[in-house]
Symmetry: D2
Subunit: 400 residues, 4 copies
């Protein structure tokens, strides 16, 4: 690939940041406050704008409802969108929340009580309206639904309840809105999760229609799972909707992306880059062109903005390396069952140092070539500490 | 449930034994010969007949091709079927083998080379003919296909090659033959498996047609997987075709069923029993009525026949306990979100001692109430040692 | 074993309940309030007393400091102990808390900053004093210490800091106080845990002295871990100090004990019962005689008291079955490498229905033979709802 | 670090190759013959010499007894050593084999039958003599010992049997011989392994003496295990003896090192490099200076020699990157609890392209800068195919 094409493709790379990624977060054992962390939506948008300013690949912010509902000066969704624009941002996916309210203790779309299902569905319908008002083009859906003990509920009944809710939601969608349906192996449900794996999510999407797609959260699989194979399978089915990027060593650790196995992240991007190169000619190519990339990380131990910038740089590197893969050589080795040769093609790209290229990209965009260092030097966090009074941590939970 | 219904349902329980379960087996570190183990098909059928005679729930033997091809006195499939009948047995599922021949080193249905795919497909077509000739009504399909290193092959191309082969196979099926399509998380492929989970198998079946069903091998999942949820999901989709029962603590350990977590086996049967009770009224009920139950275990450390009898007794106990579940009480507790109450309904059934009931069942069938003890006392293994000359172990592999 | 011996051994079985097991709990996604749940120490002791009254095997309550510090009417530790006695209870292990205070964000005994280590150590020394004042004979020590990202801190330096703190703590121990040192595979540290497994804890205890012992929390291992083997190994080393019983399917799920794999719980008790029978003749026998049994569970979906009673009944059943094991027959089968025979000895005990025996035990003690049903019928929870005003949930975390 | 020091340290890096790594291997489902693979010890030494010639870091070959016993032209150990020297090689660790003989079906050092334990011990004593005769300075010990079903044997009795055997072995050691004691989570034992983790091995070594050390096989842990933390812990205890390098995604996959998570390999080398820099001043430094590095991989899908060369290049890269770590900057960030900063120090080294440096090293040694390409171009494998007649595969197993 010639360098201009390379820079041009890298220049188009985009990831959404989650508004909640700029708040204090923690574990079930407690939340560690960060004196600079954002509490209000204004602060979250300001922080997201800062991360975008240094990296240039974070142009949208995903919102979580009700955490990010307009209040105070941001009196409605138009005001929210305007505030985002001021910070150089658009509004990304809308994330309904049906896991914190005590009514959802035993489920939302799958709850045995039709009243709770109705409430959860109404919240989703409200989020459709919010998406329209805020200019978002997708709903990112994560369900904590599941059970905690053998026998607790009827797996098949729950499946059917979920389908019925989804069908009503789907009918309410305007044509420009996509559903990104997340699956998760476990947590916070400790015995079973109703959407426990990509197969369950894919079969559900097939029953709904083309606006329903699967969202892959890289931390939501059993250990050892080959995520790049799932990505390829979903591309082949035309069902891959988006990603929640993060990293994990054990459970759903929500660490910064690429921090545990950066090679895995490269292998995921390798699947995506290959599909992109097929263009509109294949289902996978068409699917890859529309993938919604998002972060979903908890920064309990790192400065939230620094962690976001670091993550942006990491996915840039992974994508850049994927673009360096010599696809013709790879294809030849594969055809010859030359396992070592095929692997070496990938390793050659992976072991290349793409940081000079990315510095060049940033310089050409008028940005500092070293975003993390530049942000650290900027004094933004120090100013935030001064401006944002020390308050009790308002949020009592994490996003899925 | 009244006792007569209980005994009647228990009397209908059936499991297929695998012919290869009566051979010596081992691990990649070596095979441990058992002096009584079967080498020829005649010996395998004799052993399977013995297990059936003591338990009464093992009326069919699954065959592995080419391991069990007719030779010598068993000159054709009619002779094989007749020999089986002599031992009180029918022929169960036919298992093609596309993993041992060196041609399959890099795959069978997914191999990059069309010549290898053709060979694998022809073998499957041959197995369709064998099934017809031997009176079997199903093909049990396990593929070792996968890759061992990142980059080795193109996931999506492999997916499409597999689909094309399956479509040709499906067209060759007579209406009475079902495909039981097995999935497996890993092994012997160490980087990815082409049919790696139930979702991949289910999506494939959907593309083929109603004779294609998913086979659940209880040892083929990531640790922690909720298998009973997968069973319920497949029942709900009408896609559950059959089981390979065995037990595992770590990988695909192929231990005797129920030996590591007997409660899990009960929970699986609980899903099946509940669906059976729905009868033809639901997709799940119709599906449950046709499930093909089979063992797939490696008896490297136990006498093969004893292990089979022990396994048969174990699944009888699990099913009996599942039949004892008070479904009305369970339903009430579930509706009330009474987690403890619902769990107690299951535990009450599980902690019941069903062994007296099963002894009664066996006595009513004219069998010894204690099959394992009776077999041990029979001297069969000792006679087998005497009759079966010590030979070099002929088999160089295990079944999936 | 004759029935009297059996009843006598069962009559001696004891488990400590954790005070925090009677509070509302949840996950990192939120806490679900239970209207009856305890907030004050008086309420926790009342609830623990209730569980003890119905089961008779829960005579002590473990306390968590600072959560359970005396306040209000319970003005000092003497008042706490008196209140406990009123409810038929003694004070169990004292649990220091060095994970919630923001100072511990990056560790306690392992923190790079000596000021934080000092603070953590002082808290432990304070807990030694509390144990003396409250009449407790053990400190149960769990450390959230670990790191979240590669490179974050120096593994060996942390190890040495921890050892130094422990050495100072050990020197402060009066002779009757034991340390129960817990290990954990992961969470809330997502990259490494300083006491990550039993080996790390055992090596530490060896450096400290005989009052330092290892505590096994049944939910703190990698999936697939053979816990009964660890228990046997620690018994053989004379290092097993105690248990935190709970159950898990995935991570540290803190479900009620025995709910996922009751056979595993039986196998653990089988090791303990076998060692007990060796008496003072072996290191394992001496060790088994002093084991401190405790629950450590989170009841987010079950009534806290019901879950405790259910758990008590579960461990009674597991222990009763372990006592039924025919040790002579087991020994004979083992010596003959009769794998099936040895397993059948265990299965015979496990599949026995010991509930009649336990009902008899309870009746002989003047208790209701069905503790869970009796408690449910008692109206205690309903009264608690009425008496305990609805308050904001005070606790922001879970115990390890 | 200045470049000369860097090149000098890289020039001292060494890894042992296993003789069995040049044979055909496979899985329990079958062995795939490679037409060029080595069968005789002469062929294995020739192949190992070839790998050493291209890489320069593979100066010794570990042997497996009885697979590599002198036969034919290699009439005794002197002849073997001479043949190795001819290929530029020395003799590495001696690996006893107590897992293939049918006598070891139920264990070796832990077997209930003292006759089998005696046989296993005698084999080890023979290997001590072989080590002396062949000029080896270590015994690499892997035990398949374990059980397959609950109840099969007495964990504590097995522990004591193993200790007794080890004590006798230890007494027979000449002072220059070290024991490298390997642990493994599971396989081929499916219920428990007698040396199941590093803690079990470490406690055993402590009972034996300073010549007993722990060997870390990178594929022998539960998924998610932080191996670099184990390495650091063993260094801190002065107990780290050596490595069996390989890679895994699932079980003990025995893939080429670094192929699944190259960052993990870097993190392991980072611990080793840091300890090396402490020199004789610390226990860890003294321990690191003596670590025995070895490969233990199964090349079922790659050309055996190519895979070995590729592996050698991979560990060179990992070590080179570890040497680039700015330890002073790392220490500063750690002391400040600057998680992001500390991580960035590691990432900066890891993302550097060290291949030019390694090409320079090789050129300075008179080697081809691109070992894998040069070997591929050499025609060696093609000549081996011609010279080594196609034979039935002689080996029926894999090494641990």
């Amino acid at each position: 690939m010639d360098k201009n094409t390379l820079l041009e493709r890298l220049g188009r790379q985009q990831i959404e940041t989650p508004s909640w990624g700029f708040s204090a977060s923690g574990t079930r054992f407690g939340t560690f406050p960060q004196p600079w962390s954002a509490t209000t939506l204004e602060e979250k948008l300001a922080d997201a704008g800062e991360a975008q300013r240094y990296t240039g690949i974070l142009p949208r912010v995903a919102l979580h409802i009700p955490w990010d509902k307009p209040t105070g000066a941001l009196k409605d969704w138009q005001a929210v969108a305007a505030c985002a624009r001021q910070h150089g941002l658009g509004i990304g996916a809308i994330n309904p929340n049906v896991f914190q309210d005590p009514d959802y203790q035993y489920g939302s779309f799958c709850h045995p009580d039709p009243r709770v299902r109705r409430k959860a569905l109404d919240h989703h319908l409200e989020c459709v309206e919010i998406a329209k008002a805020a200019g978002s083009d997708g709903l990112s859906l994560w369900f904590a639904d599941g059970t905690n003990y053998p026998g607790q509920d009827d797996f098949r009944a729950r499946r059917q309840r979920m389908l019925a809710c989804f069908q009503e939601l789907y009918r309410a969608l305007p044509p420009q809105l996509r559903l990104y349906i997340e699956y998760k192996f476990y947590e916070p449900a400790w015995y079973h999760t109703d959407l426990g794996d990509w197969g369950a999510a894919a079969l559900l999407c097939r029953k709904l229609g083309p606006q329903a797609t699967v969202l892959v959260d890289t931390g939501h699989h059993p250990l050892g799972t080959n995520i790049e194979w799932i990505v390829a399978s979903l591309l082949d089915e035309g069902l891959l909707g988006g990603f929640h990027f993060n990293s994990r060593k054990y459970g759903d650790d929500d660490l910064t992306v690429g921090s545990i196995n950066p090679y895995e992240l490269f292998l995921i991007y390798n699947e995506l880059a290959a599909a992109e190169e097929e263009g509109q000619a294949t289902a996978a190519g068409r699917c890859a062109a529309r993938v919604a990339y998002m972060f979903d990380q908890c920064h309990a131990y790192k400065n939230t903005i620094e962690a976001t910038i670091q993550s942006a740089m990491t996915v840039q590197e992974a994508y850049a390396k994927a673009l360096l893969v010599d696809r013709a050589a790879l294809q030849r080795a594969r055809q010859a069952c030359d396992v070592t040769g095929a692997e070496e093609v990938l390793k050659d790209a992976y072991h290349s140092d793409v940081r000079p290229l990315l510095r060049e990209l940033r310089t050409s965009q008028g940005r500092d070539p070293e975003p993390l260092k530049a942000f650290r030097a900027s004094g933004y966090s120090e100013r935030a500490v001064a401006q944002r009074s020390r308050r009790p941590v308002a949020r009592a939970g994490a996003a899925g």
